[in-house]
């Protein structure tokens, strides 16, 4: 009998009154370059509750990765946070010193990056890197540290962990390295896991394993996840709530179920329609394409950034940037949903 997963229960924790773990308020990040200033993240706000999975979805240039790096304080020049607060359990992470941040990173907040080969040091064994992480945060003695490291590797599904722990990163496959990095990120029982495209470089079958693992851990230790991805399939499988970003701004914030059942923002709508899905094997219609292209981030248009690709645009859209309105049980950055909008809603 094949090993199978059970579909996870779809209960949004905040509806059970869970606490707010991470609160990002009005975050703005700029990149100052020779050619000009890129406003990579503009006035972004969201919250992550204990035990929930929040997905930030967007394509290249949306600012989603920069957002996660800003939250973790890992932004390199020429990137700079110019405004906003990142409150972790009430503490503003942006105001902490490097030392204080180090105490939180890996311990309370952990991060998985997209390219496991570039995040794992090729010169040290897995054991070395894993135990370093554990020793720094949990202050266990040598034997306990080693045991915990092996335990973590077993948890992420690496066969014969006590043997594989001696390997160097290049001796492992991509999927294994990703799992090692996941093990490292989870070794200190973090409260919040920030996963930046954790499965993009992986085979579909390995992706299934990693997602299942994250789901497991969520249930076991009540870990919250901030998942940054462009893959809507992954979002559908794992997320409770979704934040959709376009050109640095949040354009829609909604529960995952609602997003797929009833996408409302024109960008989200277009995105969902253009994905080749596994349903309708008989459908030979050409795929829907969102017309036009993502604007040059050095030269964002006045008004709504999506306006010139939007089929539903009207005059106001090119003149003003819409606010994030609360409508239809979610937040939408679109004049169609502004309280003073006269026209009939779709």
């Amino acid at each position: 009998m094949p090993q199978t997963t059970r579909p996870s229960e779809n209960s949004a924790p905040q509806s059970r009154g869970a606490n707010v773990l991470l609160e990002v308020k009005n975050l703005s990040t700029d990149f100052v370059m020779n050619k000009g200033t890129v406003h990579a993240v503009i006035d972004v706000s969201f919250t992550v509750h204990e035990g929930e999975v929040l997905a930030i979805v967007g394509e290249s240039g949306s600012g989603k990765s920069v957002t996660s790096l800003s939250v973790m304080g890992l932004l390199q020049p020429p990137g700079r946070v110019v405004e906003g607060e990142v409150l972790y359990r009430g503490q503003n992470l942006l105001k902490l010193s490097q030392n204080e941040m180090r105490g939180i990173r890996g311990n309370q907040i952990s991060m998985i990056f997209q390219e496991p080969m570039t995040s794992l040091n090729p010169v040290f064994t897995v054991r070395n890197q894993l135990t370093e992480s554990i020793r720094t945060h949990l202050s266990l003695d040598r034997k306990d540290t080693f045991d915990r490291a092996v335990e973590m590797l077993a948890l992420v599904g690496i066969p014969s962990p006590e043997k594989r722990i001696r390997d160097y990163p290049h001796q492992m496959s991509g999927g294994m390295r990703q799992r090692v990095m996941t093990a490292m990120a989870l070794s200190c029982d973090p409260q919040l896991l920030i996963a930046d495209e954790p499965t993009t470089a992986l085979d579909v079958t390995i992706q299934a394993q990693i997602l299942a693992l994250i789901g497991d851990l969520r249930e076991k230790i009540g870990m919250a996840v901030l998942l940054v991805t462009h893959d809507l399939g992954v979002v559908a499988e794992t997320a409770d709530r979704v934040v959709v970003m376009y050109c640095g701004r949040v354009v829609e914030e909604v529960t995952a179920v609602e997003l797929f059942e009833r996408p409302l923002h024109p960008y989200t709508l277009g995105l969902l329609q253009s994905i080749p899905t596994m349903e309708d094997v008989d459908d030979d219609e050409p795929l829907y394409m969102i017309p036009g292209m993502v604007p040059n981030p050095l030269n964002l248009p006045k008004g709504c950034a999506f306006a010139d690709r939007c089929e539903k645009r009207f005059d106001r859209c090119t003149r003003q940037v819409p606010d994030l309105y609360e409508a239809e049980g979610r937040k939408l950055r679109c004049f169609l949903f502004a309280p003073d909008h006269e026209e009939v809603r779709p």
Partner: protein
Amino acid sequence: MGEFEPLAPGPSGDLPSGSFVADQTMALGETLAPGHVPGEDETFHEKADNRWLEMWRSLVANKAAVVSLVFIVFLVFLAVFGPWITPYNPIETNMANSLKPPSPQHWFGTDQLGMDIFSRVIAGTRVSLTVGLLAVSIALTIGLILGAISGYAGGKTDTIIMRCMDIMLAIPSILLAITLMAALGKGIDKAVIAIGLVSIPEYARLVRGNILSIKENDYVSAARISGNSDFRIIFKHVLPIAMSVIIVRATLGISAAILDTAALGFLGMGVQPPQAEWGDMLGRARGFIFQAPWTLLYPGMAITLTVLTFNLLGDGLRDALDPKSRIK
């Protein structure tokens, strides 16, 4: 079953895909296309290929590089117009005037044969620069061809060529140069050949390394599929990209060649007396260090300054080419 090919290394891209820097750079290449059909492009503000322009801009931003460029222009001027501006004939001896300290008539003083050191230093510029450039040209040309063949062909050819290069590199270059000179005989032209030959391995290895990494790129494969001959691929697709690194190394190589020239001259194996050459001048000054330190000082300074200049220029070029330094 016969022998199989070894597995080739993967391609090397400039930026890791998926990194946020790649995202930003990628996004920067995209256009503003209001209401247009997908794929239609717009007028671009970027000039077609301003790689060299950007490099130039980075270079002139580096003060040390600018100073060295100016100095090199000055040196070239001296080398070209030397014979016309020397106050005295550099090879004219005047025993009555020997070992005179610096004075208004002889700015750098005179050596043991009464020859004006100032004029000789100026004359020496031509020799050093010529040898430096010629030797590097020889080394670069031959090294480039060998490295290109080696890197592109791979297999046994690569092994044979590289082992030869390794053997050459195992021997200190000066010793090798001296040995070659012993075989070739004395004279400045032989010195050029000797120094040139000795410097080949460095360029061969550099070019080979570059080719190995570039060769795995998809556009090289595409060129092969398009039916290009190997020769065309090397010279049209692969080498131009490696050129910038090669130029940097060549600039630094000029300073090394000048030093080698001076060393050979010091040992009496370069120019023939009474021709002026800095190393040779140093060699002759050995016996007079305490009596007449100026005979040592000025040629020595000339060598030092020239080598320093080319090194600074080479460093400046390298920094200018480093993409990381492009983003402010």
